[in-house]
C-alpha cells in the first residue's frame, strides 16, 4: 500500500515553530485562502476549481430514469467521488480508502442532506419519470484542503448546469435536445460551502485552507458547512485532540465570512461565463423560464 510519506521530524518542527511565531510557510495570514480560481467548461455543468495547487473537477450530467418507488415525487441526485492516482500516488484505483469515504460523506451531508438541490423539481411524471442528476467529483491534484475545493466545485457546477427542457402531454414526455430548446437551470435552495479549520497546539493556532504539509502536521480539523445566510448545514470534528467548545463557535463565525467570500467568487464567475455565452444578447428571449405574465 503506497502511502503519502510523512514529513520528517525536522520539517514538522519547522512548520510548527513557524506557526508559533505566527508565520505560515507560504507567507499567508492564518485565515487567508490560497488563490481560488474557478473556471467553467464549454459544456454546461463542468467546473474546475483550483485552490493553490489543489485542483478538483466536477461534471454534472442528467438522464431520465424511473424514480424510486418510495419517493415518487422526487428526482434522484447522486454524488460520486473519485480519488485516483492522478491526484497523488497515495490514492489507489478501485480501493475506497478512508479519505474518499469521508469526503463523499461530507459532500453528501453538505449538499444532499441539507436540501441544497430541490429534488422535487426534477420530477417529470410522478412515479414514472424523473431526472437523475449525477455529479462526478474528480480530484486532479492534491495539495491539501480537498474538502473545501470539492464542495466549491460541486456547488459551482450545480449552479452552472442546465438540464434539458421537457414537455408533458398526458403520459407522453418530450425531452428537448440542447439545440432545440434552451436548457433550464437547476433549482438550488441555498449554496452551502465547506470550510475546514485546522488546529494546532490544542486550538491555539487555527488555520484556514491548510496545504498538504500543514495538514500532515496538524493535530486535528473541524469541517463546517455553512451558507451565506448563516445556516450551518453540517459540522464534523471527528475525534482528534480536544478543543474548547467556544473555539468551535469562533470557527463557525469565521467560516461564515469565508463562505460569503466563496459565494461571491462563484457568483462573479457565473456572471462572467453567462456574459460570454450570451452572444448577441439573445439569451433572455431563449430562456424557457423567462418572465411570464403574472395572472
Amino acid at each position: 500500500m503506497p502511502r503519502e510519506a510523512d514529513p520528517s521530524n525536522n520539517e514538522r518542527e519547522f512548520v510548527l515553530s513557524a506557526l508559533r511565531e505566527n508565520v505560515r510557510l507560504d507567507g499567508r495570514a492564518f485565515d487567508q485562502f490560497r488563490d481560488v480560481d474557478l473556471a467553467f467548461g464549454e459544456e454546461y455543468g463542468a467546473a474546475d476549481v483550483r485552490i493553490g495547487k489543489t485542483r478538483v473537477m466536477v461534471k454534472i450530467s442528467a438522464e431520465v430514469v424511473t424514480p424510486y418507488a418510495d419517493r415518487k415525487f422526487d428526482g434522484i441526485f447522486t454524488i460520486s467521488t473519485e480519488l485516483s492516482p492522478i491526484a497523488s500516488p497515495a490514492f489507489e484505483v478501485g480501493r475506497q480508502d478512508q479519505t474518499e469515504i469521508l469526503l463523499s460523506r461530507l459532500l453528501e451531508k453538505t449538499i444532499r442532506r441539507s436540501g441544497a438541490l430541490d429534488t422535487e423539481s426534477l420530477c417529470i411524471i410522478a412515479g414514472q419519470k424523473c431526472f437523475h442528476i449525477r455529479a462526478d467529483v474528480h480530484v486532479l491534484d492534491y495539495d491539501g484542503n480537498i474538502a473545501d475545493a470539492s464542495c466549491l466545485a460541486l456547488v459551482a457546477a450545480l449552479m452552472h448546469f442546465r438540464r434539458p427542457d421537457v414537455e408533458v402531454h398526458g403520459e407522453d414526455v418530450t425531452v428537448f435536445g440542447l439545440r432545440e430548446r434552451e436548457p433550464i437551470k437547476l433549482q438550488m435552495q441555498h449554496q452551502p460551502f465547506c470550510i475546514t479549520t485546522s488546529y494546532f497546539d490544542g486550538g491555539e493556532v487555527m488555520l484556514h485552507d491548510a496545504s498538504l504539509l500543514e495538514e500532515q502536521c496538524r493535530e486535528g480539523e473541524v469541517i463546517i458547512s455553512i451558507n451565506r445566510f448563516g445556516e450551518v448545514c453540517q459540522i464534523s470534528k471527528y475525534g482528534g485532540p480536544p478543543i474548547d467548545g467556544l473555539s468551535i463557535l469562533t470557527c463557525t463565525n469565521m467560516a461564515l465570512e469565508k463562505a460569503k467570500m466563496l459565494d461571491k467568487v462563484v457568483k462573479a464567475k457565473l456572471e462572467e461565463d453567462e456574459k460570454k455565452r450570451d452572444k448577441g444578447g439573445l439569451m433572455a428571449e431563449l430562456r424557457a423560464d423567462n418572465e411570464r405574465e403574472q395572472g
Binding site: V222, K237, G245
Partner: protein, 251 residues
C-alpha cells in the same frame, strides 16, 4: 410519521414526558463478557449497546504495520437487523457506519496513551442491539467503559450525548429551547448534534452535526451539550466506581 412537536410550547414537556434538560435513563455494566479483555453493556434510554475490547495485542493483519510507534485503534460496528423500527440489513461497508467507526477510533486515538503500546492494535467491537437515537453517543460511552474494563491507560473518559433544538430550521422563532438527549423520534424531526467531551472542563473531542440549523441556535445547543456531557461523565464514573467496589469485595 412526523413527530407532533406542536404541544411542546404549551406544557414544555417532550413526547416522552421529559423536560428540556433531562437525560434518559442511563444504565451501564462492565465486564459482561468473560472472553474479551474488556467489555461493557450500555443503555441510553432504549438505545442498547454491547461493547467488547480486544487487546492491546499483536496486529492480526500482517504486513507493513509493524513499524508503528503507537497502537492502532480499530473499531467495528455491527448493527443488528432487529435493532431499528423496521428490519433493515445494514452492511458492514455502509458509509455511515464507516464514518462512525472512523470517528470513534480517532476520538480514542487521542485519549488513549497509544504510545505505550507500539506495534499493537486495540480492537473495539460494538454491537448495536437496539436503536432509539443517540447512536454515536451511546457507542462512545460504551467504548469508554469497555476500555476502562480492559485496563487500557487513558487520559480521561470520553462522555458523549446529543442535543437538539425544538423548532426546525425553517421557523425563525426566537424562543426555541435547546433539548438534551433526543430520542429516536425527536432525532428524525429536529436538528441535533452529537458531542463528546473529556475532562471536567469544556473540552470537546467529538462534535458531529448532520442537520441544518441557524448559527445563533448553535451556541445554546453547544452549552447544553457540554452540561449534558458532564452529567453523563458523572454517571459513567459512578458505574466504574461501583464495578471497582464489587471487584474488590469479591476478592
Amino acid at each position: 410519521m412526523p413527530l407532533d412537536s406542536s404541544t411542546y410550547a404549551l406544557a414544555h414537556l417532550r413526547v416522552d414526558g421529559r423536560r428540556w434538560k433531562e437525560l434518559r435513563r442511563i444504565h451501564g455494566q462492565m465486564s459482561t463478557q468473560a472472553a474479551a479483555d474488556g467489555s461493557s453493556y450500555f443503555e441510553m434510554g432504549n438505545t442498547k449497546i454491547i461493547c467488547t475490547v480486544l487487546g492491546p495485542r499483536q496486529p492480526t493483519k500482517s504486513g507493513g504495520r509493524d513499524q508503528s510507534r503507537e497502537a492502532i485503534i480499530e473499531v467495528e460496528i455491527g448493527v443488528a437487523g432487529f435493532s431499528g423500527m423496521d428490519r433493515k440489513k445494514r452492511s458492514r461497508n455502509d458509509k455511515r457506519t464507516q464514518e462512525m467507526q472512523y470517528t470513534i477510533s480517532s476520538a480514542f486515538a487521542s485519549t488513549v496513551f497509544t504510545s505505550q503500546y507500539p506495534h499493537s492494535t486495540i480492537t473495539i467491537v460494538l454491537h448495536v442491539l437496539s436503536q432509539d437515537g443517540a447512536l454515536l453517543a451511546a457507542c462512545i460511552n460504551a467504548a469508554t467503559l469497555a476500555l476502562i474494563d480492559a485496563g487500557v491507560p487513558m487520559q480521561d473518559y470520553i462522555a458523549a450525548c446529543t442535543t437538539g433544538s425544538t423548532a426546525s430550521y425553517a421557523s425563525n422563532d426566537e424562543d426555541a429551547d435547546p433539548l438534551l438527549d433526543l430520542n429516536g423520534m425527536e432525532e428524525l424531526e429536529l436538528p441535533f448534534l452529537t458531542m463528546g467531551t473529556s475532562g471536567g472542563e469544556d473540552k470537546v473531542n467529538v462534535l458531529v452535526m448532520e442537520t441544518r440549523i441557524q448559527m445563533p441556535r448553535l451556541e445554546a445547543m453547544v452549552s447544553v451539550g457540554l452540561d449534558g456531557c458532564k452529567q453523563v461523565r458523572n454517571i459513567l464514573d459512578g458505574i466504574v466506581r461501583e464495578h471497582g467496589k464489587k471487584l474488590l469485595s469479591s476478592r
